[in-house]
């Protein structure tokens, strides 16, 4: 049993965001991706015609490369939530890893969509799947930056550093 510590409200909210807002949403996204057409753009639905086959192949090939890396982000986010709730400085390590990974993957996804014309105003206006993807991309960037910013200022980072590095002996230098 881990000794009971009481994380502050900010840390509890942050742990909830890491567990449900990042890890849970990533899992839900991929479950929906593999079992339904809900998160796919309209052109990639099962009923899309053969004329769109090359576009579908590019899009699906690209998206299908993400689950393992997304799984890494989801798991590190859940571990960070566990440590944050326990008041353990390791939350900073796992939280920064998950935040960096989430930001990296979101930027790859955004640039792919921009390069292939999936984020044009016309496409975004017409395709509900791309609207969902845009919201997810923007949400990932925002949550990742917020999480990194908060953990970098977290006292757990400073406590861990102070414990690991002995104070510098007095001069002269």
């Amino acid at each position: 049993m881990t000794p009971q510590r009481h994380p502050g409200l900010g840390d509890r909210v942050h742990a909830g965001v890491l567990l449900f807002g990042i890890a849970g949403v990533i899992c839900a996204y991929w479950i929906a991706f593999f079992l339904t057409d809900l998160t796919k753009p309209d052109f990639a639905h099962a009923a899309a015609g053969p004329a769109l086959a090359p576009l579908v192949a590019v899009y699906m090939g690209f998206e299908s490369a993400f689950p393992l890396a997304d799984g890494f982000v989801a798991i590190t986010a859940a571990i960070a939530a566990l440590y944050l709730w326990a008041g353990d400085p390791k939350a900073v390590l796992f939280g920064l890893v998950s935040g960096g990974g989430l930001l990296f993957l979101a930027l790859i996804d955004i640039y792919f969509n921009v390069l292939h014309g999936f984020y044009t105003p016309a496409m975004l206006a017409a395709d509900s799947g791309m609207q969902i993807e845009a919201v997810i991309n923007v949400g990932c960037v925002g949550v990742a930056i917020w999480s990194i910013w908060r953990l970098w200022r977290h006292t757990g980072r400073k406590v861990g550093w102070d414990e690991a590095v002995p104070p510098r002996p007095p001069g002269p230098y």
């Binding site: 881990t2 567990l19 593999f34 859940a78 390791k90």
Partner: protein, 136 residues
């Protein structure tokens, strides 16, 4: 045999094996007799075997869906280990090290991640030719 029942039985078998190993090596210790039974039946069998393994992965090739099963099983597992650490206290961690880890919270995190392999292994076993009836 119906597919969900097959996944349930495979996951329960994995649970029994895990509990036996944990008992012999004293990796974790339960506080009452009912906890390991509930753990094997509900968490291994129903949640990870049927809920994650069968519902998500039954109709897809193992190689395609394994990352999704791993992440979902691990996130549920980490949340479950956290629930035990902070609320349930149904099992505890003896002083003996686990892969170099000695603190309870570190062991809970490691075992939480290990939960992710339960639906992956369950699905891989369920897709073996001998169990699908598609063998030579």
């Amino acid at each position: 045999m119906p597919e969900p029942a097959k996944y349930l039985l495979i996951a329960i078998a994995l649970g029994v094996a895990s509990e036996l190993v944990a008992r012999v090596l004293r990796i974790w210790v339960y506080r009452n007799v009912a906890s390991p039974i509930l753990n094997v039946l509900l968490m291994f069998g129903v949640v990870q075997g049927v809920g994650v393994g069968w519902l998500i992965g039954a109709h897809l090739p193992v190689i395609s869906i394994a990352p999704v099963l791993l992440m979902t099983g691990a996130v549920i597992g980490i949340a479950y280990e956290g629930l035990n650490e902070f609320r349930l206290h149904s099992w505890s961690w003896p002083e003996t090290g686990l892969l170099g880890l000695t603190r309870p919270i570190d062991k809970a995190a490691l075992v939480g991640v290990a939960w992710g392999f339960v639906p992956v292994i369950t699905q891989a076993i369920a897709h073996l030719p001998a169990l699908t009836g598609r063998g030579a």
